[in-house]
Structure formats: structure tokens, C-alpha cells
């Protein structure tokens, strides 16, 4: 196809670099510098999509990121399909492949368009009213139907193969928007030597000047002026210029999120180059120079392909060398669209007429129109348009003429409309900035903001290039508007622009046939908004939700103000009384990828590993995650499944010796003269009299009396304790301790230091543990008498400085050797070597769980759930009875914590010893009771015990200890299992083995 809508001698394109692309499988051509939208328009293609609800044919409306209609799918190859890309933002690249959306089977012929024929059946609130009943239709009919019909475009299914980057950045001044105001600000601030960042979402700086090549600034044509300014800024080391960068959110204390699109405009991207980069910029001061967005007019048939914003028409003409049509009608209530008409006329394009809704316009404009031989219809309104897939004609009528005498039909292939301008206040609103209603301009303007933020140019309601430049220069220099020497001389400025704000345009068409769209993307018409008000919606928030006006991906950039004017009219109040909805980040649609940044794949989340982990990996261990750590779960030998491996590992511990990596245990060194007093207040147990060289099990409660954590604590000396915590609980315990220390007991002379990673911990467990350890330990008698259970010594093990604990989490004779982490693996390998004659066996967390379950040792977080008291868990022995106080003590006498019926920790044995119950399964008394049954409790731990030759389980059961020997029932998926309640200590209840 030829680019028959190109205009010779116009545009900022690189005409030497032609590019080919496809849209819906058809090949087109364009030039470097085009957007997908401009390249399609160059071929006269306006129809690019179907609307969301009615599947009406839709065309390109804008030339920027506010585009509501021209949403397409872009396919960059495997895994790189992106729906809902705005064709007006997507830069053309060689080989670009795009497809239209929301149509089936094709854009030209769409079955879904049947909705449009029945549009009167689908007014606002249709879903709310219709799908209420019958109730049973919801699951099978309504929801599937709505799901099928909902959504725009097809979501990508594959993992995103692109990479994304992120950076923090600090600067003195961040300028959002690189139009005349922003550039002038950057120039002043940059010359002052401030660290400046200036960003623009477009591929070039210049903003509105890019679409206004005829104006001159200080004698230079606008494009030349832009080039000079950008060159100067690039020459300043303290100024950073970011193009294709959208400021997506404005957060507390001048933190602004920027999304920089790095490669979406390139056809060949080397591997490893990030697609987008998220900047988190903390700026001392922010200047918002985002300009204004033109408003559409709301008239019958305003959504036909070919009906566009007047400023977009100017942009396509000047920037992209494209005319939007061959015979154009201008319809407007604002002066700026007249300039669009003049620009087109100057380019030799036929203007069918300028239709201005206002009763009067500036005589100078009329004179200029006459000069250009353009027909003007002032005081006229559009009442109708025709053309299914492209506008073919408009019908106009004098607004003062209720008869239809003045009706006339104008043939055309494009309509440029302007309903005036809306200052871009989205980011300003993110700051919780307040807006004021400007009665003269009938618009909201920025007022107060808690941030150090200025808003300049059209965003501040400042019209005209000279004014914008001046405001930019003043604010950029940090000076008052009256106090600046810089002056700009601008010729061919557009500062005369004025206009009036409209609701829907008057029409004499029968109301039932009028389809005047307010929100193009969500298919909201003016009638919908009036219906919402009629239905009783008074707040703009309610109107928005009832009609979905402004809820599409464009966040109502084109529709909010028109919707507001209509709602205000329907309610009979002023627009500020109706108010605006809340703007939230992101300002424009943003990829999930850029938010994830580097945190995908292997780098998604921290995976902590011990120093012994590589050894386990080499042995083929199977790992499991435990909080952020990965831990060896079991060490399968050839042909073994988990059960076989765990049975072997458990057997080795019970009959010989096992070795276990316990390095992940949390460790806190508590030091200071008040260390014992501090622990005495934190833990339930008594600490004051614990002798150095001795250990004690410690139980930590919350103020509510429920178990929070536990662990063994050793006293190293009078003022120094080595506290261990659960693997997952370590950070919380430290934070809780620090919290109490700083807020409750700041008088205590005690300090906490996390030593979790200082020490590698190797557990040797089993009757032969002493035999492996003894030869490697210097100067300590390890016999049971000299070094009994719960002893601790600082010594040397295999030549490494060590803290040696006689402790056991298996019920066997056990030692835990702590050495500085850097020696952990070496010591581990020494033990493996030294233990070889005793068939030492590495075991993982699974065997550890079985062994401790056999002994009825709880694991906080598995056998407790945050509602378990020491008494519930059978741990009353761990409470210092004579202690006056400790955290949680008072709660332990709360009526509900001492009442009967609390769930208590017990053991369960299945009647069928081969059945291993499911953890989490419910326990009931009577399995024949009708559903819902009375639940007595649940299984907390359940394993196969090789030592006992049967399954075992731990459970929390109401009044469990009073139910010893009772039969209870566990309903599981296929079968209900009978169990007997027993003591939770299944193995060696007398504890002989522990003390051997």
C-alpha cells in the first residue's frame, strides 16, 4: 500500500530510513520516527480496534499516551506478546507486528458488534440489575458469560523472557515534561549548576512545540530552539535527560517513580539489555510541566473512526507528515482548533468547514479563516455523523435553531474536534495536592500540595508559549515570576486561545437514537451518566462506578471532565460540588515487569544457604525451604525414596550416630551485666541462677500468653548468654527483644547481637556421638558425669575454636558443635571422616522431624499456631513458678486461658498402624454426626516411625489430656481413620537414652 496520506515537506521523520510493519497480517510501510498510529494514518487506516462493550469500530483519537481507542497487541516473538499497547505511543521499528483487539473473527467483521444493535438493552448498571437473579444462574451462566465478554486484548501466557532494571537516583530538581516550560526550567536550573533530571514520555523533547514548527522563540524556529536547548543541556554534566520515560507515580517526600522504556522502539535488541528501567528518584524539588490534554466534544456519533482531537491532527501533520484525511471538518468550542484548520489549509488539505458551537468567536479568527477560504459555521453544532468504519459525513445545525431549517450535511473523511483543554494534574494529585475550580476557565487548577513541588505551564493553566517559557524559566531558577531577567520573544504564539466548556452538544435528533460517547474505551455515553444520576448516584465516585466512566486503562484522561460537566448539569450543581474522582498511580499503563525489576527467576527472592549446603548438594541431598533458608531434607542413596532414606537416617541416629547441619538456628548473643535479668523478663524460665557452662530450654511468650518461640540458651559467663531461636523465628525474636529493651527497659545494661551467621552448627546425635567427638576435643571430659545433658563448654574441636553444647533434639545422646562459620564445612568433613568407623550418617530435616516427633518435642509454628499456651503444649515445667513476672505471665491467668476445653497437645496412634495421617486433618468424636461435625482439634505433626514400626501423630485436641486412651476419628479424603489418644512422648519416655 502507498502512503497516500503523507504530506510532502512535513514531519520530523527520517525519510531515508523506511520501515516495514504488519497490522492484522497486512504489510505496511512507514519511516523511522513514526509511531504505529502515524504510520497507519499515512495509509488512511483509521479503524484500529473495537470498543469494549458495544464492539463499535474505533479509530485513533489522540497522538499521545492518553489514547483510549487505539490499543493493539504487539508481538515481539516468543513470550513477548503485549496486549493493549497504545499505537500512539509505540514507535515504529523494522518488522513490527501488531494486531487489533476485541474483535472476532476480524476487525472488519466482528460478531460481537451485535451488542451495538441491542445497545438500548445494555444501559449503565445493566449488569447490576440483570445478573441479580435467579441466584443459581450466577455460577453457570452469568459469571462465565461476563468473563468471556470482559477484558481487552488477550493476556500473554508465557513467562516474560525480557529483563528489567531499576535504579535509585537523587537530584536537586526533577522536571517532569520536556515541553517549552520544562525545557526553560531545565535550562535555568542547569545553568545554576543544580543536579537536574528532566524526563519526557515521548521520543523527543519539545512537547507541544514539536507540533508547532512555525512559531519562533528568540528568533529561532521552534524546532531549532529545541535542538539548541537540548544540546546545551546535554553539554551540562549536572543535567540528566531521560526520553521515553513516564513519571508514573508521585510518592511521599518527593519520591517519583519513572518508567524508562529502553528497547521497545528497537527491532534488534541484544540479549541482556533491559527492556525497561524503573527509576526511583528522590528529588529535593519537583517541577511538573506536563501540559494539558485536549478534551473531546460529546456529540452524537463522536466515536466514529476518523473523529479525532484537533491537536492530534496538528501533531500528525507537523511531526509525522501525515494528514488525517483529505476533506476535514473541524468542530470546536475553543480557539485552538481554528489553528489546526489553518495549518491543514496551509498544507493544502481541504477543510470542509469549521463548525464552532460558540455564538461568537474572535473576529480575527474569522478573518483568517476567510483568508484561507475556509467555510465557518459559528453557532453550529454537530447532530449526527455517518460512516461505519470511517466517518463519511457530519450533519450540522445552528444551535439557536430548534426547527431543522439550518440542517446541513457535510461530506468528509475526518473530523477534528476540540472541547478545550484539561490541565494534566494526575501526578500533582498523587501528592494529595488540592485543586481549585477556576470559574473563568471552567477547569480545575492546582492549589496546595504538601510536597516541594511546582507546577508550571499549561498544567498550571498558563496558556501560550511565551508565558510557559517565562514561567518555566522563573520556577526553574527558583525565583518569583516578577523577579526574572530572562525573557523570551515568541512569534506566532497561540496565547490568544480561549473557549467555552461544553456538556454534550445540543442536538435535535430523537433522544433514543443519540449515541454521544464520553468514555470511548469503556463505551460510556452521556445518557449513561444522566441515567446514573437519575438512578440516585449523586457523588462522582458513585457515577464513576455505576457507569465505569474513567475506569478504563486511560484513567479517564479524556472523559473525566466531560463526565463531570454532564453529571453536574444533571444534578443541577456546579462541577466543584460534584468533585473529581481520585487519581492513583500509575499515571499511564505500566508493565508488571518493570515493577519486578531484577527480581525474577533465580533472583526473585533471597535463598539463604549454610556453609555446609554445598557439601549436601554434592551428596545429592534433596532440599526444602525453611523461611528464607534452604535446608537438606534428606540424603537419598541410590534407589531410595524419601521414606526409605528417612527410615535409614533415623535408624542411624537411634542405633549409631547421625550428623546434622543445624546452622540455620537463630542465635543471639546477649551481653551485659543485666543479661540474666533481661532474659528472666523475656522468657518464662528462671535464668538468674543458671550457672555458666549450663544450658536451659527457654520458652518465649507474647503478652497474650501464647507461645512465640523457643530454643536452648547457654550461659557463657556471668554477663554473656548464647541464645538460640527457631530458624524462622530469629529475626522476630531479635526485633521483639530489641523492642522491649528500647521501650520498656531502657535502664538495663544489656545488648543484643545477632550471631546466627557467625556460627556454623553441627549436631552429632546418637549413642555413638561421643565416640566421634571425643578424640577431636581437647581438654574437656565428655563423659556423662563430667559433661551431662545441657552442659556447655568453650573449647577447641579439631583445632577450631568452638562452643560445644550437650543438647538433643532427637532424644539420643547429642552434641551441637558451634564453630565460626568459615570453618563449618571443614569441621563437618572432619566429622564425616572421623565418624566413618561408626558409620556416621548425615540426616536431613525430615529425619529430624521424625526423631523429635517420636519424643514429643514441639516445633513452634508447626505444633503451635499462635493460640497455644505453655499449659496447652504441656510445657508448664518450663515456667519459673517463683518468678514475679515475665512477658505473658499475667495473661496466663486470663479466664479463657485457664478454662476447660482448651486444645491440648497429645499423641495419637492410628488403629491401623500403617496409616500416616495427614497433617492439618481435623479430629472428631463422632464420625457419623451430620455435617458440620464438632471439631475437637487437628493433627499438627504426623510421620512414619521406623523405630516404633508404625505411624505416629501429634495433635491439639480439646481437653486432650483428659481423653487418654479414648478413640477419636480423623475424616480424610477417602476414609475415616480411628485413633487412640496417647501421651505425646512415643519413644524412650523415661529419657534414659538422652542421659547416657
Amino acid at each position: 500500500m502507498t502512503q497516500s496520506f503523507r504530506v510532502d515537506g512535513r514531519g520530523r521523520l527520517d525519510y531515508g530510513t523506511p520501515m516495514r510493519f504488519t497490522f492484522d497480517g497486512k504489510t505496511y510501510s512507514g519511516f523511522k520516527g513514526d509511531t504505529l498510529a502515524s504510520a497507519l494514518l499515512a495509509h488512511g487506516v483509521h479503524l484500529v480496534g473495537r470498543s469494549f462493550k458495544y464492539h463499535r469500530p474505533r479509530g485513533i483519537v489522540t497522538a499521545g499516551s492518553e489514547e483510549p481507542n487505539a490499543l493493539v497487541g504487539i508481538d515481539r516473538g516468543a513470550g513477548r506478546f503485549e496486549p493493549n499497547t497504545r499505537a500512539t505511543v509505540q514507535e515504529l521499528y523494522q518488522g513490527l507486528s501488531a494486531e487489533s483487539q476485541n474483535r472476532w473473527p476480524s476487525l472488519q467483521f466482528d460478531i460481537g458488534a451485535i451488542n451495538d444493535q441491542f445497545h438500548s438493552l445494555f444501559p449503565a448498571g445493566f449488569y447490576y440489575k440483570t445478573f441479580m437473579w435467579p441466584r443459581q444462574f450466577w455460577d453457570r451462566v452469568y459469571e462465565p458469560f461476563i468473563r468471556f465478554a470482559a477484558g481487552l486484548g488477550r493476556p500473554p501466557r508465557d513467562p516474560d523472557p525480557d529483563c528489567y532494571a531499576s535504579r535509585y537516583h537523587h537530584c536537586d530538581l526533577l522536571i517532569v515534561g520536556g515541553g517549552p516550560a520544562g525545557l526553560a526550567a531545565a535550562l535555568e536550573a542547569g545553568r545554576q549548576g543544580l543536579d537536574v533530571v528532566i524526563v519526557d514520555e515521548q521520543a523527543a523533547f519539545g512537547g507541544s512545540l514539536l507540533s508547532n514548527p512555525t512559531c519562533t522563540i528568540n528568533g529561532a524556529l521552534s524546532w531549532e530552539w529545541i535542538a539548541n536547548v537540548v544540546e546545551e543541556l546535554r553539554g551540562l554534566e549536572n543535567v540528566k535527560l531521560l526520553l521515553r520515560t513516564s513519571a508514573i507515580g508521585y510518592f511521599h517526600q518527593n519520591m517519583v517513580g519513572l518508567c524508562q522504556r529502553l528497547t521497545d522502539h528497537l527491532s534488534d535488541v541484544p540479549d541482556g539489555v533491559p527492556r525497561e528501567r524503573l527509576w526511583r528518584v528522590r528529588a529535593r524539588r519537583v517541577i511538573l510541566a506536563q501540559g494539558a490534554i485536549e478534551k473531546p466534544l460529546v456529540f452524537n456519533g463522536n466515536d466514529r473512526p476518523g473523529v479525532m482531537l484537533a491537536s492530534a491532527g496538528q501533531t500528525y501533520l507537523h511531526r509525522y507528515g501525515v494528514t488525517v484525511g483529505k476533506r476535514i471538518v473541524i468542530v470546536t468550542s475553543h480557539d485552538t482548533a481554528w489553528q489546526a484548520a489553518f495549518d491543514y489549509a496551509n498544507a493544502g488539505i481541504e477543510i470542509a468547514a469549521i463548525v464552532d458551537v460558540r455564538p461568537e468567536v474572535d473576529p480575527k479568527l474569522r478573518a483568517k479563516a476567510d483568508e484561507c477560504a475556509i467555510k465557518t459555521l459559528v453557532g453550529h453544532s454537530i447532530t449526527q455523523t455517518t460512516g461505519r468504519k470511517r466517518v463519511r459525513s457530519v450533519t450540522v445545525q445552528a444551535t439557536t435553531d430548534p426547527s431543522r431549517k439550518s440542517v446541513r450535511r457535510l461530506l468528509c473523511d475526518a473530523v477534528l474536534m476540540s472541547g478545550g483543554w484539561t490541565p494534566t494534574l494526575y501526578l500533582f494529585s498523587h501528592t494529595k495536592g488540592s485543586l481549585t475550580w477556576d470559574d473563568n476557565g471552567e477547569r480545575f487548577l492546582p492549589s496546595e500540595t504538601p510536597e516541594i513541588c511546582d507546577i508550571i505551564g499549561a498544567g498550571n493553566g498558563c496558556w501560550g508559549i511565551a508565558n510557559a517559557l517565562r514561567e518555566g524559566a522563573c520556577v526553574g531558577a527558583g525565583k518569583a515570576l516578577t523577579d526574572i531577567e530572562v525573557s523570551y520573544t515568541v512569534e506566532h504564539d497561540d496565547d490568544a486561545a480561549s473557549g467555552i466548556v461544553q456538556k454534550e452538544l445540543p442536538t435535535t435528533q430523537p433522544q433514543e437514537t443519540v449515541r454521544a460517547f464520553v468514555d470511548f474505551q469503556n463505551d460510556v455515553t452521556s445518557k449513561d451518566i444522566r441515567l446514573a444520576v437519575q438512578t440516585g448516584m449523586k457523588s462522582i465516585e458513585h457515577v464513576k462506578r455505576y457507569t465505569t466512566n474513567g475506569m478504563a486503562t486511560d484513567q479517564g484522561k479524556l472523559s473525566n471532565m466531560n463526565g463531570l460537566m454532564i453529571a453536574a448539569d444533571a444534578l443541577g450543581v456546579t462541577p466543584p460540588d460534584v468533585g473529581l474522582t481520585t487519581f492513583r498511580p500509575p499515571y499511564t499503563p505500566t508493565t508488571f515487569g518493570v515493577f519486578a525489576g531484577r527480581h525474577s527467576g533465580e533472583h526473585f527472592e533471597v535463598e539463604r544457604k549454610t556453609v555446609i549446603d554445598p557439601w549436601a548438594d554434592e551428596q545429592g541431598a534433596v532440599f526444602e525451604p525453611v523461611s528464607l533458608w534452604r535446608r537438606a531434607r534428606y540424603f537419598p542413596q541410590a534407589g531410595e525414596d524419601m521414606r526409605a532414606a528417612v527410615a535409614r537416617e533415623c535408624g542411624a541416629v537411634r542405633s549409631g550416630v547421625g550428623i546434622f547441619d543445624a546452622s540455620t538456628l537463630g542465635k543471639i548473643e546477649v551481653v551485659g551485666p543485666d543479661a540474666a535479668e533481661f532474659l528472666n523478663r523475656m522468657y518464662t524460665n528462671p535464668w538468674l541462677k543458671l550457672a555458666p557452662g549450663r544450658c536451659r530450654y527457654g520458652l518465649l511468650l507474647g503478652e497474650d500468653g501464647y507461645i512465640r518461640d523457643d530454643g536452648v540458651v547457654a550461659r557463657l559467663s556471668q554477663d554473656r548468654f548464647h541464645v538460640t531461636t527457631t530458624t524462622g523465628g530469629a529475626p522476630n525474636v531479635l526485633a521483639t527483644m530489641e523492642d522491649y529493651l528500647q521501650t520498656e527497659w531502657p535502664d538495663l545494661d544489656v545488648w543484643l547481637t545477632s550471631t546466627t551467621e557467625q556460627w556454623a552448627v553441627i549436631a552429632l546425635q546418637g549413642p555413638l556421638a561421643r565416640k566421634v567427638l571425643e578424640p577431636l576435643v581437647d581438654g574437656i571430659d565428655l563423659s556423662n558425669d563430667a559433661f551431662p545433658h545441657m552442659s556447655m563448654a568453650q573449647c577447641s574441636v579439631a583445632g577450631y575454636p568452638a562452643r560445644l553444647f550437650r543438647v538433643s533434639f532427637t532424644g539420643e545422646l547429642g552434641f551441637e558443635v558451634n564453630v565460626p562459620a568459615q570453618f563449618g564445612r571443614a569441621l563437618w568433613e572432619r566429622f564425616i571422616e572421623a565418624g566413618e568407623p561408626h558409620s556416621i550418617c548425615p540426616y536431613g530435616t525430615e529425619a529430624m522431624h521424625v526423631l523429635r516427633t517420636e519424643k514429643g518435642y514441639i516445633i513452634v509454628g508447626q505444633d503451635t499456631d499462635g493460640t497455644v499456651t505453655p499449659d496447652d503444649a504441656g510445657l508448664n515445667w518450663a515456667i519459673g513458678k517463683k518468678k514475679k513476672d515475665f512477658i505473658g505471665k499475667r495473661s496466663l491467668s486470663r479466664p479463657d486461658l485457664v478454662a476447660d476445653g482448651r486444645k491440648q497437645f497429645v499423641g495419637l496412634l492410628t488403629h491401623d498402624p500403617s496409616v500416616v495421617l495427614e497433617e492439618g486433618a481435623q479430629v472428631v468424636q463422632d464420625p457419623n454426626q451430620s455435617v458440620p461435625m464438632d471439631m475437637l482439634g487437628h493433627i499438627t505433626s504426623s510421620y512414619w516411625s521406623e523405630a516404633l514400626g508404625r505411624s505416629i501423630a501429634l495433635a491439639l485436641i480439646a481437653d486432650g489430656r483428659a481423653r487418654m486412651d479414648q478413640s477419636l476419628y480423623i475424616p480424610m479424603d477417602n476414609q475415616t481413620h480411628a485413633v487412640t489418644v496417647v501421651s505425646p512422648v512415643f519413644y524412650d519416655p523415661s529419657g534414659e537414652r538422652l542421659n547416657s
Binding site: 527467576g601 533471597v606 539463604r608 554445598p614 559467663s717 545494661d749 571443614a826
Partner: protein
């Protein structure tokens, strides 16, 4: 696979190989280097014109906590100079001390010095309440230097480097992991991080380098 162990992760040293972010993500170019002690053998690993990253050999490191009224006594008894301002570092011979909080310092000193300091601390404890804890093995140190160093660190660290003078150190984060960042010269930094997080930090730095390297391509 990458992440073979906590410290012993390193990137193959080969100036001709430039790994992409995807390759880095899949762990290509990383391999294990451990000696029999389970510690790292060679540590100088990412070597480029504009950025270098390497593991520093293990050193002695102690956490000191003491109240203001006992600070001077403790400093004198331990013969350790204590900078008074948070973020400032004082160096005395082989010892360097960084102030991390109103009552918190980290002392970097040769390994063989650690026991002697702990013994002095033990003698001092009755007269002057304080806490001195050996954390030599808890953290590892990553040296990072070169022209691009601020850009690379900015990928995961929210610090304003304009406000971070040579000779200062800060407790901060990189990729949400707590680190202590020291600035030695304009372009020389070191990161002190808990051992098991170091692989994640290393990987994050490698990905950040890919992003910084991409700038030269994108500038064209």
C-alpha cells in the same frame, strides 16, 4: 545452577566473556571455588574497565555496644578509637572503626587481633558495662570499585551518593538485604553483608552491571 553455597559463589574471570542478564540469571558463568575449609579461594571475579567486584579475604570484625557515659573508658581500655558521629570511620593502624548508631560500632581488625580484644573486654566488664561480640565470620566483604560503581550500587541501594563522603560508612540495604556500605575513595566501596545473603547480593550486582553496560549500547 548458581548459588552453590553462601560465600563461595564467584563469577568466572574472563575478560572476553560478557554474560547477559539472562545467562547470569541462569547461573552461567558462576562456579564453585571452595577450599577444604569451605572458604573462598580466589575472589576477584568481575573484572571490567569500568567496574570490578571481588570478595575480600576474611578479616576480624567485632560489634561493640556501649553507652555514652562509658564510651571513653571503653575506648581507652580496648585501645580502639571510637568515632562519635554515626557514619564516620576512624582508623588506627590496622584497626578501623565505624560508628553505626548512637551506641554501636563495628571494629574491623586483623583476625589474630580478635581474641586479644575479647580478653581486654572481659577484664573491663565489671567496671564498664559494654558488649563486645565477635562477628568475624558472620559477614563477608565484597569490594566493588570502578567508574560505574555508583550506578551499579544505585540499582539496589537507595543512598544519595552525593551525600556519602570518602571515609564514611552506612548501614543500608541492597536489593532489600541489609548491608554496611563503606566508601574508601570516590570509586572504591566495600559491602559488608551477612554470609548467607552474599550470593544474592553478588547476583544483584552482576545484574546491575548488565544494566549499566547496556547504557553504552542504548546511547548509540
Amino acid at each position: 545452577m548458581m548459588n552453590k553455597g553462601a560465600v563461595p559463589l564467584e563469577r568466572v574471570e574472563d575478560k572476553n566473556v560478557r554474560l547477559s542478564a539472562n545467562e547470569a540469571r541462569q547461573g552461567k558463568g558462576f562456579k564453585l571455588h571452595t577450599d577444604s575449609n569451605g572458604t573462598h579461594k580466589t575472589l576477584a571475579n568481575i573484572t571490567g574497565d569500568r567496574i570490578k567486584i571481588s570478595m575480600r579475604a576474611p578479616g576480624g570484625r567485632l560489634s561493640l555496644r556501649v553507652r555514652e557515659q562509658n564510651r571513653l573508658q571503653t575506648s581507652e581500655a580496648l585501645r580502639v578509637p571510637l568515632p562519635l558521629q554515626i557514619g564516620k570511620r576512624k582508623t588506627d593502624g590496622k584497626r578501623s572503626v565505624l560508628c553505626l548508631g548512637p551506641d554501636e560500632w563495628v571494629i574491623r581488625t586483623p583476625c589474630e587481633d580478635v581474641q586479644a580484644l575479647l580478653q581486654k573486654s572481659e577484664l573491663l566488664r565489671d567496671a564498664t558495662p559494654h558488649s563486645l561480640v565477635d562477628v568475624s565470620s558472620r559477614d563477608v566483604e565484597i569490594d566493588i570499585s570502578g567508574r560505574d560503581v555508583e550506578a551499579v550500587l544505585s540499582a539496589g541501594c537507595p543512598i544519595d551518593f552525593r551525600q556519602f563522603s570518602v571515609g564514611e560508612g552506612k548501614r543500608t540495604i541492597f536489593d532489600s538485604v541489609q548491608i554496611i556500605l563503606d566508601r574508601h575513595t570516590d570509586t572504591d566501596f566495600s559491602i559488608e553483608v551477612w554470609r548467607s545473603y552474599s550470593a544474592y547480593i553478588w547476583e544483584g550486582l552482576a545484574l546491575a552491571i548488565d544494566d549499566v553496560n547496556a547504557e553504552s549500547f542504548l546511547a548509540e
